[in-house]
Amino acid sequence: MSVVTVQLGQCGNQVGQELFDVISSDAQDGQRKTYSSVSRERFFRQTSQGGKKMRYNKNKAPRGFYYDCCYVGKVLKYFFFFLRVPDFEARAVLVDMEPKVINHSMNRAAKSGRWRYAEASHFSQKQGSGNNWANGFRVLGPRHRDAVEELVRREVEHCDVLAGFIPMMSVAGGTGSGVGTFVTQCLRDVYPSSFVLNHLTWPYGTGEVIVQNYNSVLTLAHLYQLSDALLVHENDAVHRICSQQLNLKQISFGDLNRVIAHQLAGVLQPALTPDSCGAYSGNPLGELVSALACHPEYKLLSACSIPQMASASIAFSTFSWPALLKHLRQMLIANTKMEEGIDWQVRPPPASAGRTSSLTAGGFNASLANLLILRGKDVYSAETGGFEDPAIYTSWLPPAEALSLWKSPVPFDKYEKSATLVSNSQALLRPLDDMVRKAWNMFASR
């Protein structure tokens, strides 16, 4: 039940590094032992402790820690402090066509002191893909296929039981989108029976990259056939969360990445599922995909989580399950990603209206399937009836099948109570339509 993450391109590598940061700090915060060990097993591997694995860490070394070995060691011990720290290496493969971002991510990881990337698990070239999907997919991907497959294979061999792959990438650039699509294709070929859940970051609607619409459309078209499910975060929505919910003034990409990492970790950290019979689930990706991607033509998933607030405010807030779940339900129906500015007027259409009428009337967001993950205190007493209302689902899937519920009694990332909702709904339709329209207009000019 280990997950191998493949981080592709600048976005994938930056978000991936934040994700592992959140996961490792969550698992370490004096939580219950089972939760921590399941989480660690899922995302990290412990390197073996030999006589040579010593870290000089003058901030943490206690005086008088002696290392009983040869004479050199005895001499050294008089002059240096040695501390054996368990090395947690992320189960990740880092791929990029230029070296700056990977170096930066690996350094940041090592500086955290809690975890790091394995030395040999990255692949980079000198020159980027130039924001060119075709360059990434047709030229650079095949050229470096063997090297990347080798890295993935080595990571997979370290896993006792493989739960699946999470390729992380953006769709606007060249490497993430082009090389990422090619790598997903290779994963499918080489590991046909493993789950592949792609995490995608959609760019700001107004231009990070001019050809982003071309790159996005090409990527999504290919990934739809290759991937089991596509979990999407949009930069615009996350930006709004940062500015209105977290009250950040100068929002940097680092802030966006931390929010994305928080939501993603809320999905991926251990939870008790209906199928796992009282223990933490051993098949998180498989259960997620089977709960949500109920039809092969509907694979686009979006996530939202509650509460989201500046960490300074957490200590002063109280949370109750009814309030959290009520807000979350309305966030789902009204298609917003945050508690601020929810439109409470949006309601599911009354049952008397014909089911075949437009489900998007009145801004209402219909869902195919929802996965609700509750974490924290009193999680067993939370009332989730609001999510079982047939009015918010389509007619051809009964709510009992459409809603899946995962729980974990362990508080997540400093929130006493928190809930994450992954939904297969119409939420991504508007941004997708915009993307296709702009790509088409650009293509159809002259």
């Binding site: 070296p99 700056k100 930066h104 001019i210 990409f253 998007t360 650009m442």
Partner: protein, 427 residues
Amino acid sequence: MTQSVVVQVGQCGNQVGCRFWDLALREHAHVNKRGLYDEALSSFFRNVDLRKSDGGDCCVGGRIQHLKARAVLIDMEEGVVNGILQGPLREVFDSTQLLTDVSGSGNNWAVGHLTYGSAYREAIVNKLRKAAEHCDCLQCFFLIHSMGGGTGSGLGTRVLSLLEEEFPDVCRIVTAMYPSAEDDVITSPYNSVLAMRELTEHADCVLPVENQSLVDIVNKISVMSHGAKPGSVLRKDSTVTSGQGSLSPTEKPFDAMNNIVANLLLNITSSARFEGSLNMDLNEIAMNLVPFPRLHYLVPSLTPLYTLADVNIPTRRLRPSLPFVSWNQEGWKTGLCSVPPVGHSHSLLALANNTCVKPTFMELRDRFTKLYRKKAHLHHYLDVDGMEQSIFSESLSSLSELIDEYHQLDATKARLIPDAPRLSIAR
């Protein structure tokens, strides 16, 4: 990390190039505190250990021994290059990187392009090849030259087509200095138009810089620094306009203008050299900003040009006020780099593929036609071996076509183009 080679041709090209190398050294000295030869330095310099017998290139990670610029300096008269070699930058250039002759091109594009172009073809190709071989992964050639003279425009454009022949995969970014209307070279319209055709056909992208604009900018800055309002403090250590703090004690007349161009080049490459949260490589410039192969003239603008003590971080307020073409309504490509230039806390460089170049080109065409109608000074060109009158007419028609293409785009500005029909999502 990729490397770039700078090719400076002619008097203007070499003088601008000289400022560029000076600024680059200062910027890296500011950022690189430990004296290690890192990836950022290797994009423009190579580290040479002269004690080694094999020619001495050191790899990334060691201490800096001798920095040599990745550059080729070409001029058909010796004055400027000799001046560089006697100045403070002499250590940065190798004698193998220079190509000089004695007599100059006489402000004659044909002499530069055809006579010297053929005579020195082998030598130029060799030097370029040598510079390229020193690079691990060569991404881009920066060509700097003026359009009005003889060597810069003639030999410079010949070098451009040689680069296209020999290194077709490497991006060619040309910084071309366009003459102002009161230029002191009478034949500058001829030289410019003849060179324009080469640029349109062989360059990947061109950063046109007008001398007149540079003069205006420098004047405005000196007005600001002399007549500044009492509350605002001018930062004196800004490297944008002045070489104060640089190596040469006295400033030569065109130095301020050349500094601006040098800053432009530094800023373009900053995201490729230093890290940032949204990197932008040089090949992404052409990819994103050039919609059709001939329309590759990107107008640069740089801010701040003079630093007031409380400069604001520029935001995306430009967006609503700029008219974009219908098929690219949000045509922005953004790059963010964490390392600011020397003397500033922030800076913004904007490259615009904008129809505002059309008036410039139209003026150029007008000045050309004035001379050409009378066939004035034409015999100097036609006397050169290999030069024919058809080359003039072809260059003129190439320029006219370019102006037409920009005009088409301008004409669609106010009109609402309906979206092309496509399959709509079934609702």
